[in-house]
């Protein structure tokens, strides 16, 4: 199972002087059970792309399928298929609105028509999952939480609906390093422990390198690169042309190679990079000893 886009195009405000084509003929597959990252410059079409995934925007042309079902048909099965895809927008905390954290998280499940016990259970589970202690925070106003906590409460509201696919638009933007780290771990755990397929937008290639097993790079509404991180990050020139930067670690490794260091292979995470450098240093020592 997967989400599939076939020749999807999207035009904003067609037939007006402001007409702008935001997506051009995009075909791609987002496989179930993986973590897929989408990167691109501002205006590259990333956000337009993810809004196609649960029918918030309908393609001007082309087909979007979730688990083999065309979600833009007017049928019950299409509506059910859309519900499989949960969406966490940028600065998700701006969408908190209820009096208490508990009510805010319960909003989605209640709309789904679940029983009160089921809603309660899901709220507790979701709060527990994003590290918000139920007894401490359930009755508080969401607006009294810190920035990182508010973001997590907003994400809990989506998790409580138990989506099969979870789409996050720049989930860690604006958080401090510890907040970023905590939330990235939570997202990884959603995938590893609950088996949720993750799709996330990020500008940060370090985060993408650590989390994703598939990377999609957009440029001016078109799909520029698609593949496993190690394949995509090899193309540092192409990435640069899209207004992005390859992970700092892979750039460091490239510079060291250019300067004549005998490094085998490439690395885009710090851990791997440090090992490669150490291997090269060992070889150099051996050479000098001979």
């Amino acid at each position: 199972m997967s989400i599939n886009l076939e020749n999807v195009s999207y035009v904003y405000m067609p037939g007006t002087p402001f007409e702008r084509q935001a997506l051009k003929n995009v075909s791609l597959e987002i496989p179930e059970g993986r973590i897929t990252a989408i990167a691109g410059h501002t205006g590259s079409g990333k956000s337009t792309l993810i809004q196609q995934l649960n029918g918030l925007l309908k393609p001007s042309d082309g087909v979007v399928e979730v688990d083999g079902i065309n979600i833009n048909e007017d049928t019950v099965t299409a509506r059910m298929a859309k519900r499989l895809v949960g969406m966490v927008f940028q600065y998700a905390e701006h969408q908190l609105f209820e009096e208490t954290v508990e009510k805010d998280i319960a909003f989605g499940p209640r709309n789904m028509g679940l029983s009160e016990e089921e809603i309660q259970a899901r709220v507790r589970e979701a709060m527990n999952f994003v590290n918000l202690d139920y007894d401490t925070y359930a009755k508080r106003s969401p607006f009294q939480l810190s920035g990182g906590q508010m973001r997590r409460a907003a994400i809990a509201g989506i998790i409580a609906m138990k989506p099969k696919y979870l789409v996050l638009d720049e989930p860690v933007a604006g958080l401090d390093p510890r907040g970023r780290e905590d939330l990235l771990r939570k997202i990884k755990a959603l995938h590893d422990k609950q088996g949720i397929t993750i799709i996330f937008i990020s500008h940060n290639m370090e985060d993408i390198a650590r989390l994703a097993d598939k990377v999609i790079i957009m440029k001016q509404g078109e799909l520029l690169l698609e593949g496993a991180p190690e394949e995509v990050f090899e193309e540092s020139e192409v990435i640069l042309s899209a207004g992005l930067m390859a992970p700092k670690m892979s750039l460091i490794i490239e510079s060291l190679k250019t300067a004549g260091m005998d490094i085998e292979g490439s690395a885009y995470t710090i851990q791997k990079g440090v090992s490669l450098i150490q291997d090269a240093l060992r070889r150099k020592e051996k050479c000098l000893q001979k």
């Binding site: 401090d176 992005l244 700092k248 004549g260 440090v274 240093l281």
Partner: protein
């Protein structure tokens, strides 16, 4: 003689905080001490970065720099002026330009030029002078070609440069930037930081940049680290980032190159202290 010396000290320190304490909701149940006895000084023309986790007091501190907040105790001086003296508020605010995180919340006019002119108009500058200031502010951020554009058609980085132009059109001596690049893509971040660097270098504007990006902090002359309302570390980026362990303990980080150097050293490789750039790492490893 002594008097002369005192004046000299004041000229050099553009901002000086003495035992500055700030308490939100004072006397209420949810009272919260955001700044706890902070003493620091920022020199004229200096480029300072303030680091700290969310809730460490960075933004509260910044709001004292232009007298948006008043000390619960202690003092804050800007250009020698006491921020708790109400008569001086407008003088102080004219010396400090502020730029915030979200470019869309800071732009108000329908045309770039009008937006930049908003501040000078508000302080009653002569129209001929406004024109001049707007033109030179747009030139300083390298956005002259966009003077008649509609701001919503610009990229995030361009919008932030317009926000910066709006601040410097008032001719401030100092710019305080509170996470100006948090919402930008990598190219936008580079644009904004190179503009800021240039304003500091070419126009001698004192820069105070609050950020969560460690590679941006590396551009500064000096880094101030805040934790739980206190200043816990101060030094050059090199000094601050050579201690990766304590930075991480505080929930902060170090630039990737510094991290790589730190880990190599930690594993017993012979690497000099304080490596900050790829070039330095290359030199250290490929002699």
């Amino acid at each position: 003689m002594l008097r002369h010396l005192l004046i000299e000290v004041e000229r050099l320190d553009f901002i000086r905080c003495e035992n500055l304490t700030h308490i939100y909701n004072q006397g209420m149940e949810n009272e919260y001490k955001a700044l706890d006895n902070v003493s620091l000084s920022i020199k004229e023309g200096e480029f300072v970065t303030i680091l700290g986790t969310n809730g460490s007091g960075k933004s509260t501190l910044a709001k004292h720099f232009n007298a948006l907040l008043q000390p619960a105790s202690g003092k804050c001086f800007v250009g020698g002026r006491d921020t708790s003296d109400e008569k001086l508020l407008w003088d102080i605010r004219q010396q400090i330009g502020m730029v915030f995180q979200n470019p869309d919340n800071q732009i108000i006019a329908a045309i770039v030029e009008d937006d930049v002119a908003f501040g000078p108009e508000n302080i009653g500058m002569k129209p001929s002078l406004i024109k001049e200031h707007v033109a030179s502010a747009l030139a300083a951020v390298d956005m002259e070609d966009y003077r008649s554009f509609a701001p919503h058609l610009l990229s995030g980085g361009q919008k932030q440069r317009i926000a910066i132009a709006g601040a410097i059109a008032m001719n401030p001596q100092c710019l305080v930037l509170d996470e100006p690049t948090a919402m930008l893509d990598p190219q936008g971040r580079l644009e904004v930081m190179s503009t800021v660097k240039q304003l500091n270098h070419d126009h001698s504007i004192t820069i105070i940049n609050i950020t969560h990006f460690m590679d941006e902090a590396a551009l500064a002359d000096r880094v101030i680290v805040m934790d739980k309302g206190k200043v816990v570390k101060e030094g050059t980026p090199r000094e601050i980032f050579s201690d990766a362990i304590s930075m991480k303990r505080m929930g902060l980080d170090v630039p990737v190159v510094a991290e790589v150097a730190f880990r190599l050293k930690d594993r017993g490789e012979n690497i000099p202290e304080g490596i900050m750039t790829t070039e330095e790492l290359v030199n250290a490893l490929c002699q």
